[in-house]
Point group: C2
Chain length 235, copies 2
């Protein structure tokens, strides 16, 4: 089995990279800035693909995620893509900082194209999720929730309205873009997200995100390890 | 010279496709839904790449534009990418419905990642533009303006604030994503936009967009022809 993790930021991926001792394949995606790490696990392939950098910081957001996912699928042909990273969540739904979720749905919350049904449907997205996601979440004991994706760290009233109308629980900046590209290539995708901030407790500032990033990234490394062990039937 | 036009919607591209008699290469980008049309002009190659469809409508927005641009650059190796399509503009800046502009800059207006300089800079984008854009606009007599891109047809107060702070004049839904991917591959890009609606005259409704789409798409076909003739030194 070939499993490919797509992660936006180096800091989000580093505890996971350290845990699995994956090694970098420098320049694998040139001329793209995406970074590739890999290792073998009992004859299976584990890949970790990061967006890489531009203009002095790790690339985040939906365009970079689209590019990294497309490059990863084209060059690595994974059986399963896992988008793993941090997210915001809602205290009113029972979320707490550091919680890990497996997604049971993924859509955009900041692509507003009203008009008629087809455009509205396409803009929200609602892409297919790996059909074993619920089985995995139940077996390991993770909560499940719907990921909604937008290109901004903050949450505007128009975003919250779409999130609430569509029962979104986990607010991230890449998931739906990764899932969109996977849908085009018909590559199965699941999303594993850990919570760095509570959207309904305080403004989603960069300071709160940075404060909780290391802890949430260690939580995601633990979660990723459990999912990999479950998928590969390791104890 | 290999010139590749990237256009979101079939309706935007059709007058241009008809004008140049380009022929479709069916399934060229499979499994991607993107569509490819091509013709030869005096030993030069003209390509027109469309996003294609998903979920019952032409794909629009930044993720589809990222995918189409990446596929086009990987498979066609163009010397120049031209993102051609419709946009909103501002009456207060002297714009009128049907006006054609060549862009002198391109950035995102809906990727809000405050925090520090590097993240903010990356999120706005501000990608390089083909170094002959001003020469072409001056020679043909087109206005120039800065394109700002967002994933929504409407314009929220937070969008307008970023547009005004950065002197944006032309509001579209793909330009910065096309330019971002071009920046990764170091492929020169220019943007040719025609105005379907005035953001400061009325709400940017789907009805106004649809009403003016055919006229603006014919204006863009005329403009594209002039730019091609200038680049290829045809009379």
């Amino acid at each position: 089995m070939k499993i490919c993790f797509i992660v936006a930021m180096q800091a989000e991926a580093q505890p996971f990279i350290d845990r699995f001792g994956v090694s970098e394949a420098p320049g694998f995606f040139l001329p793209l800035p995406c970074k590739m790490y890999q290792t073998d696990i009992d004859g299976n392939k584990l890949y970790v693909v990061l967006n890489g950098q531009q203009q002095g910081s790790d690339l985040v957001g939906c365009e970079a995620a689209s590019v990294a996912t497309m490059a990863a699928i084209q060059q690595l042909h994974p059986d399963l893509v896992i988008n793993s990273g941090t997210c915001g969540a809602f205290k009113k739904n029972g979320a707490a900082i550091g919680d890990v979720y497996i997604s049971n749905g993924v859509m955009f919350h900041d692509r507003r194209v009203p008009g008629d049904d087809a455009w509205g449907t396409q803009s929200l997205g609602n892409y297919p999720i790996f059909d074993r996601a619920a089985e995995i979440a139940n077996a390991i004991g993770f909560k499940m929730g719907k990921v909604t994706t937008g290109s901004s760290l903050d949450m505007q009233p128009c975003d919250l309205q779409i999130i609430e109308e569509n029962h979104g629980e986990l607010k991230d900046m890449e998931g739906a873009a990764v899932a969109f590209v996977c849908s085009l290539f018909k590559t199965p995708i699941m999303l594993i997200k850990s919570v760095t901030d509570l959207c309904d407790e305080s403004a989603e500032t960069f300071e709160i995100f940075k404060k909780n990033l290391a802890m949430a990234s260690h939580a995601i490394a633990d979660a990723n390890e459990k999912v990999i062990n479950y998928l590969l039937k390791k104890s």
